[in-house]
């Protein structure tokens, strides 16, 4: 599941530029489960082109930088399918917040509450974004991703909210 495979996957949905591939992650709900930066997308597309897994059509635009529209080739389709038949790498959930919570006892209490509130706000924003995209026409796969994202963020929100209440109850002198 490296960036090259991710690009191939996106391109099975239709031709796109590097910029559009990146934007797909930012705008829709995918970035919660998979992402790639420009610094890896552009080199990946170049290499895929050399290997014949994608083809490029340069669209010279009037008063804009050229667009390089990439399309997946038959060889690319086969390669992507083959990668889906191999065992998948495991999920990785990296949470600086959770790590920080392990050291709550070292922090001033207001900072802990601030951290939790910030995390709650972020999770709410993510949930809102998923909710927003719910009306768009979606494939089965997209509905699965959005549904799972929603379920996970709701679970985390609940858990963290309860934790916040515990902290407040336990040390009422730090109440707002």
């Amino acid at each position: 599941m490296d960036v090259r495979a991710i690009c191939l996957g996106i391109l099975t949905r239709g031709p796109a530029t590097g910029y559009e591939i990146k934007k797909l992650f930012d705008d829709d709900g995918y970035q919660h489960f998979i992402e790639a930066s420009f610094g890896s997308i552009y080199p990946a597309l170049n290499r895929l082109t050399v290997e014949g897994l994608v083809s490029v059509r340069e669209e010279a635009q009037d008063k804009r930088p050229d667009r390089k529209v990439y399309s997946i080739t038959q060889a690319g389709r086969s390669a992507f399918l083959a990668s889906l038949m191999k065992p998948l790498p495991e999920d990785k959930h990296r949470s600086p917040f959770v790590f920080a919570m392990m050291f709550a006892h070292l922090m001033p209490q207001p900072r802990v509450v601030e951290m939790i509130d910030c995390y709650i706000a972020q999770s709410e924003a993510k949930l809102a974004q998923i909710e927003e995209n719910k009306d768009k026409p979606q494939s089965d796969g997209e509905r699965f991703v959005m549904g799972l994202g929603k379920a996970i963020f709701e679970t985390m929100l609940n858990f963290v909210r309860n934790h916040r209440a515990e902290i407040k109850d336990h040390k009422p002198e730090a109440a707002e």
Copy 2:
């Protein structure tokens, strides 16, 4: 939240070798939310030593490689605390499985079911590991991490199990 900060955090709990820091992730439930490899831990500890944020005591062992036991210094403690006062990077949940599910329509149906079953088995194993460690003496922070991990994996398991049933109901010709 780079590897250096992670090492400092672990060392606030007491002196440890690079090996032990890594093992903490593997054995206990932390690896679900934060991790680091040997390839980054050892260089990080070296740099922290040069910077005076940790100190080393080399224990020459009889018939074993030397142990380098690292302890956090006062300067290290301050640096770690300072890093906790800065805004935290956001969570990153990277799931090749979820990405692959977006392309279920391109795969042979048995492969989709296999993927889901594999994912369910992995999640069950992670849950079992958390359950196992429940009896160990734990700090507040550890209970928080384990509790959240348990809640998330249970949510995902539920969701994926339902999804599996849907696939089976929808295409009963692929039933086991």
